[in-house]
């Protein structure tokens, strides 16, 4: 199996310059990006094994003496390639605000409490079927300075590696039906409605554990699909 990474697949990504998200104005390249072929340097990428994750890394509610406050949730799903094949043994890292919408970070000083029983970082390695599963608490919404009365919808940050450095993805998982969606320039930086919905998890009643935790499903599709004979001819 030889994977290729067509550039067309990136059409769903946000533009570097998205002025409604103010910080992009001075942090987006202004000169043309240079087209280069995919060499071994791009087609390879870091490979993490199961030793990168320790027991308990995927349960964010068990990292301190007590349980964190907030709504306990399960977040699970599959990491797939563009042919919808599982991406096995790949590292998934998450970080998030606590239930009050506060991050364990000096720059976040908005008046909401830190939770001594919650840091908000987790990691997992996908299994042979590309499956991962976290237990955490639902992050709160929080204000930010982009514009007057700006609030981020509830979200969990995801970082995923995949088969090569070209499949590397940093994204955010949102929750279904969030009333803040229409007002968030980061969410709306993805201009295609269908593509935007791929960042929204779905409520998973079937895997919700009675009397214990709601469940949300978030499947992640990374760049990379199998080369067809036609593609191979080009090389």
């Amino acid at each position: 199996m030889t994977l290729i990474f067509p550039k067309e697949s990136l059409s769903a990504f946000p533009k570097h310059l998205t002025p409604d998200y103010r910080s992009t104005v001075k942090r987006s390249p202004s000169k043309p990006l240079i087209i280069i072929p995919h060499t071994l340097s791009e087609l390879s990428g870091p490979v993490y094994g199961h030793d990168a994750v320790q027991g308990g890394d995927a349960d964010l509610t068990k990292q301190h003496k007590g349980e964190p406050l907030g709504e306990r949730i399960i977040v699970h799903g599959h990491v797939l390639d563009e042919d919808k094949r599982p991406v096995p043994d790949t590292l998934v890292e998450i970080w998030q605000a606590n239930a009050c919408g506060r991050y364990v970070h000096n720059v976040d000083q908005h008046p909401a409490p830190l939770d001594p029983n919650f840091t908000g970082a987790g990691r997992a390695i996908t299994d042979k079927k590309g499956y991962y599963r976290f237990i955490t608490v639902k992050p709160g919404a929080y204000p930010w300075g982009n514009h007057h009365n700006a609030w981020r919808p509830n979200h969990i940050h995801f970082s995923v590696f995949g088969h090569s450095f070209l499949s590397r993805l940093v994204t955010q998982m949102y929750f279904p039906g969030d009333p803040l969606f229409p007002f968030d320039p980061i969410f709306n930086s993805v201009t295609d409605e269908k593509a935007r919905q791929r960042m929204v998890s779905s409520f998973d009643l079937e895997n919700t554990i009675p009397d214990w935790a709601l469940c949300f499903r978030f499947d992640i599709v990374l760049r990379g699909r199998e080369a067809t004979p036609q593609d191979t001819d080009k090389h």
């Binding site: 942090r27 240079i34 060499t39 870091p46 490979v47 890292e93 976040d108 450095f165 955010q172 990374l222």
Partner: protein, 207 residues
Amino acid sequence: MSEITPSQTVGPFFAYGLAPHSRCEWRPEQGKDIYDWKETAGANLVTPDASGTKIRIEGSVFDGDGMPINDAMLEIWQADAQGRYAHPRDSRTRPNTKFMGFGRSATDKSGTYSFDTIKPGGVPGPNGKPQAPHIVFCIYSRGMLRQVYTRLYFPDEAANDSDPILGLIPADRRGTLIAHREGRSELPVYRFDIRVQGENETVFFDI
């Protein structure tokens, strides 16, 4: 029509998740400068079994106003001293079995990052043409909705002249990818500043 999951910004608060031991001045508790969380990858790539020349890479990241970006994360990906990648796509025998070639560093309050690593060897390129030694850089930050890719090349490398990737870059911008050798200490230090936008903007790749 592709159905990949779109990218979103890493945001300003990634340190405790992705770079907990980096020059982290962001931890809320007094008296501690790192988060109590094992790193996935840090800024020191050197392993005891790695052969080759130890080097340090240092630089700063600047925005379009020339202001340092103090909340960026850089990831680097490189071959070992023999030019081999720790990846199944590179099937050549790899003597440095523990050298992974991947590192992460967050920038500090002055926008500065650094890596300790091994100078990579040249690696195979397209159509059998060799590539000059280089390191792939990936940059993430608040205000960047998707990562940008660039490469660091080394000064005084004859192979740069025939490198198939450098050859694709307009001559007047090529210099943004060449690190500068600094200092005369035993440890070679290469300075590689990254300008995200504006004058002397670093070349980024459309890949």
